[in-house]
């Protein structure tokens, strides 16, 4: 039986996922996720010792691009066509963003 996800856990996961949740949502999410996890918990009852995990369902390896020849890139206008904040910078255009604070991943 899964422990109920508490508010702190929900907020922690929401931060990892960069999702702002209202208080209502936090509470609802805690209940919904707990319920789903409760159901999912059943797989922990299985004896999976010695079973290799499947990360790729097809049995293929070594797929590569054999040549190192450049392919055409998008023109800058196209690359920036959907940019929420295109900014003029030395040499052309950039994607404007708020500056990060102290830590990366902030």
């Amino acid at each position: 039986m899964a422990e109920m996800l508490d508010r702190a856990q929900v907020l922690h996961v929401a931060r990892l996922a960069r999702l702002e949740l209202t208080d209502d949502e936090v509470e609802r999410m805690a209940g919904e996720l707990s319920k789903v996890l409760d159901h999912i918990e059943k797989i922990r009852e299985l004896d999976l010792g010695g079973v290799a995990p499947t990360s790729h369902v097809i049995d293929v390896a070594g797929v590569v691009r054999a040549d190192d020849d450049p392919e055409p890139s998008l023109p800058a206008e196209v690359a920036l066509a959907a940019a929420p904040e295109p900014v003029a910078v030395p040499g052309g255009m950039g994607f404007g963003v708020p500056s990060p604070g102290q830590a990366p991943g902030e």
């Binding site: 990892l16 960069r18 990360s55 790729h56 097809i58 293929v60 390896a61 070594g62 797929v63 590569v64 691009r65 054999a66 040549d67 190192d68 020849d69 450049p70 392919e71 890139s73 998008l74 023109p75 800058a76 690359a79 920036l80 900014v87 910078v89 040499g91 052309g92 255009m93 950039g94 994607f95 404007g96 963003v97 708020p98 500056s99 990060p100 102290q102 830590a103 990366p104 991943g105």
Partner: protein, 482 residues
């Protein structure tokens, strides 16, 4: 000062930007200094629906690095997603390798390699604030040209024991990689980046202390200073009875201080999982063969060891030559240019390379007017005392200016060695003693330090042609000193 003596334990984490033509997971051209956002595509821009495809040449370059370390190349390795949000990471994950990397183990010189793996570079985040530094700017902007450039990450074991050693070893690494041709390995340009993991422990202890990670040291000098500053900081903490906290620190060279980048609670949870858009990577016989063929026959560390072992050079002279390919190549050509009198000494010859470097700077000796044969000839003449060391330096300067053959220059300028029995050397010695009676008196009394001015007089009078050792012997003979 604390009563306990601490020793530093240092490991390095190096990122090398590969000099492939295209990016790690797409066909965009890798380009530097171009107009921003002109080298992107759906994949490296992380547009919806885009997918990565592995650049085989990047794999080959990664294998070459692993082979240079004599590490164990994994026949099959896996890419993982390393998840974190930052404007320079468009997918909000980096495709990297986690628990099944391209290569494990190996060594370079005194340092063991822990692992080598492939990953992709982030975009370039620039700041619109005035200072141009990350703190204090309001808005930033991103250039995705760099995003997706192939990177190799090299992690060493914590085998380094001083900031100087770390700096020196990084130099060996750089030269080694430069000679493989896989990267420009230029710290100023960002194709070589180095972070350090630093801890301290009481000398003699075998357990490891808590380590911190140091970032933002973007030159060899700053690497050394940053590590030194951190060692000092940790030792001071421990001396106060406090403990070292595991954290990441940002080194500021201007103030020589370290700032913590992360609080304890905010440690990254990268949530690694195998990259479902890529299948496992295979290092085929073909890739291995191509990698081996592309490596130079002998890398710097091996070459230095050979110079020491087979030619009798000192370790430091051997490294000095071996870690600059052009010097070592030139040296070996000179070595094989056996002059007619057959009297060639590798150690003597090796001493003349730095003399040449002093005169031509960073230039390639092979491009200078001094042919390897000439240098070999000159070294042989010094060895046989046909010319004094001082005079030989003059000859070398002439060779650098005009080229030609050493014997011709010696003959033309009359730089042949003076011996005691010829050319009135004894007379010059007598004149020197007469000219400086105080010095002569000191030497007679046993103070050998005073001999300098006397020797100097003779050397000036003979325009350096006398053999310095011979002159000293004559003076002492005359003065009967100890």
């Amino acid at each position: 000062m604390s009563a306990v003596e601490y020793e530093p334990v240092i490991g390095l984490e190096i990122h090398v930007q590969l000099s492939t033509r295209t990016k790690m997971f797409c066909g965009c051209e890798v380009a530097f200094g171009e107009a921003p956002n002109t080298h992107t595509c759906p994949t490296c821009l992380a547009l919806p629906g885009a997918l990565p495809v592995v650049n085989e040449r990047a794999v080959q370059f990664g294998v070459m690095i692993g082979l240079a370390f004599e590490g164990e190349i994994a026949e099959r390795s896996v890419f993982h997603r390393k998840n974190y949000f930052y404007p320079d990471s468009p997918k909000a994950y980096q495709i990297s390798q986690y628990d099944i990397p391209l290569c494990r183990g190996g060594r370079l010189g005194e340092v063991r390699i822990h692992r080598v793996h492939l990953e992709e570079d982030a975009a370039k985040l620039n700041h619109l604030g005035e200072s141009g530094r990350i703190h204090g700017a309001d808005r930033s902007w991103v250039d995705f040209n760099r995003c997706g450039t192939p990177l190799v990450e090299i992690v060493t074991e914590p085998d380094l024991r001083s900031p100087e050693q770390a700096r020196e070893w990084l130099g060996v690494l750089r030269e080694t990689l430069r000679q493989t041709g896989v990267s420009d390995v230029n710290m100023e340009e960002g194709s070589l980046r180095c972070d350090a993991n630093v801890s301290v422990r009481p000398r003699g202890s075998s357990t490891l202390g808590t380590k911190t990670e140091l970032k933002n040291m973007n030159s060899f000098r700053f690497l050394e200073r940053g590590i030194r500053a951190e060692i000092r900081r940790q030792v001071e903490l421990l001396a106060l009875g406090e403990s070292v906290v595991q954290e990441t620190l940002h080194y500021d060279p201007a103030s020589d201080t370290l700032t913590s980048l992360r609080s304890k609670e905010e440690a990254h949870d990268y949530r690694y999982f195998p990259e479902p858009d890529l299948v496992p990577l295979l290092v085929t016989e073909e890739i291995l063969t191509r990698a081996r063929a592309a490596l130079p026959a002998e890398l710097p560390v091996e070459r230095a060891q050979r110079f020491e072992r087979e030619l009798g050079l000192t370790a430091s002279r051997a490294r000095e030559l071996a870690f600059r390919a052009e010097l070592a190549d030139y040296f070996e050509r000179a070595l094989s240019a056996a002059p007619s009198n057959g009297d060639l000494d590798a150690v003597e010859l090796a001493n003349w390379i730095p003399q040449l470097v002093e005169r031509i700077g960073e230039a390639d000796p092979a491009q200078s007017r001094v042919t390897p044969e000439s240098l070999a000839s000159l070294a042989a003449m010094v060895k046989s005392k046909a010319v004094s060391r001082d005079a030989a330096r003059t000859v070398l300067s002439r060779l650098v200016e005009e080229g030609g053959a050493p014997q011709e220059i010696v003959d033309r300028e009359g730089l042949g060695a003076l011996s005691a029995d010829e050319d009135g050397l004894g007379e010059v010695v007598d004149r020197a003693i007469a000219a400086d009676p105080d010095a002569a008196e000191q030497v007679r009394a046993g103070n050998m330090r005073a001999i300098g001015p006397l020797v100097g007089y003779v050397m000036r009078e003979t325009k350096g042609r006398a053999d310095g050792g011979e002159v000293t012997r004559l003076i002492r003979e005359r003065l009967g000193g100890a």
